[in-house]
Symmetry: C2
Subunit: 253 residues, 2 copies
């Protein structure tokens, strides 16, 4: 078998965040598979076929990639950010587990990338400078009460919280409820960062407080960081505030 | 003022994980400041001065960088991985908050990188494919009981757990205690990944179980991922197991 499958993270929108490893894998692939807006970020090459797909077809996309690799193609599956964080890598693994034994013998590589929370954090300072967690607010594949429980556990234990998939047309109310739950556990002045389309031309990053955080300020391309009780915002004249979480912590109240 | 300060993430050991943005910032700097092993990964350039330092001098290193930038130099502070994750970015912010007002007016940029947990996860599949957290096991700057509380909260709430700074000569027992605490909350078969020196020539990645996890298998360059109750290991003939956490979750027991 000469085929191979690379699961490639593009990083957030800016091409300057694409690693050389990912760039080489994209250039070497015969077949590119992925959600259409991600594929559009990859420069076209002759002799390379492309299979853009809808956002919701993760399992089908993963199975298609595995079939083509098993047939001998060099396949690259393209994800935004890091493919291992709420993205295609887990879907590929799931299809391998459920699929024919030959898929376990494929030449398979996962190529890490800069995930959105790191890029958003970098725009404002170091909000992820101390213990933190990442939670997907999508309740398409898990019960909402589990998400609430994780939000509350994270806030109580003093984790900074990065929220992936905060809102969509099909999930309009979840982010507002998440903020409500967090307001029960965290101070009104807790810094909150909205990072929209980070690294793209239409990037918009805003720092606010938990009391003032407005779900309507988020869309599908937004990553939100909610501070811990230790997170601080430093005002700067003529610039946005710096937000950071110190490494030194005295303990929880 | 013409000086500037870039806080640059090199990613883990492999130069193929260094982003083009980080590479450009390193090339443009007059002054490089950082922990010696990180500086050694940056190719030398004429007219560039270097200030390697010890691992423990984060505050002094940050202040030195800010002073030199305020005096007009283009300074790059170099971190392994991502500078915002248990690294120099928070130290820089802390010095700015405590330092002279002029430091708030500096031309300051944080450049994200591939943090260690993403690289280790990529080596084995997608263990961070669902909600996860990152905890530093260092109790140099926070009380140990807070670390235990976070470990237990994370395990109970079903987060995958990435452990940074698991062990050192000065902190020899903490990792063993952490595993003990986690064994009270998680099944013996929970997958555990040890990723040592990932991306370097001496990389060693091993998959084991929580029951079998041996603190002696970790050193200062190791990043450990402890699965959630949903995390699965798939055996592969002639290859290491795939470890992944599915996006679909039924809920907690």
């Amino acid at each position: 078998m000469t085929g191979s499958l690379a699961v490639v993270g593009l990083g957030p929108g800016d091409a300057r965040w694409l690693t050389p490893e990912a760039q080489a894998a994209l250039a070497a692939a015969d077949v590119l598979i992925g959600y259409r807006p991600y594929l559009e970020r990859v420069p076209a090459r002759p002799q390379q076929t492309r299979h853009p797909s809808d956002n919701r077809e993760e399992g089908a996309r993963a199975a298609q990639a595995l079939r083509q690799a098993a047939e001998g193609a060099r396949v690259a599956v393209v994800s935004g950010g890091d493919p291992g964080v709420f993205a295609m890598a887990a879907a590929i693994c799931g299809e391998i587990e459920a699929g024919p034994p030959a898929w376990r013998d494929l030449d398979l590589a996962f190529l890490p990338g800069v995930t959105a929370m790191l890029a958003v954090a970098a725009r404002v300072g170091a909000p992820l400078g101390h213990d933190f967690c990442a939670i997907s607010l999508s309740d398409n594949l898990k019960p909402w009460d589990l998400i609430e429980r994780r939000l509350e556990a994270a806030a109580e234990a003093g984790f900074v919280i990065a929220l992936y998939n905060p809102i969509s047309r099909a999930r309009p109310w979840q982010l507002g409820v998440a903020f409500e739950r967090l307001r029960r556990k965290l101070a009104a002045a807790t810094p909150v960062v909205f990072g929209r389309a980070v690294g793209r031309a239409d990037e918009r990053v805003a720092v606010t407080t938990l009391a003032a955080a407005d779900p309507a300020a988020a869309d599908m391309t937004t990553l939100i960081i909610v501070g811990s009780p230790e997170t601080r915002a430093i005002a700067r004249p003529g610039r946005g505030p710096l937000v950071y979480t110190p490494r030194a912590t005295q303990g929880l109240a």
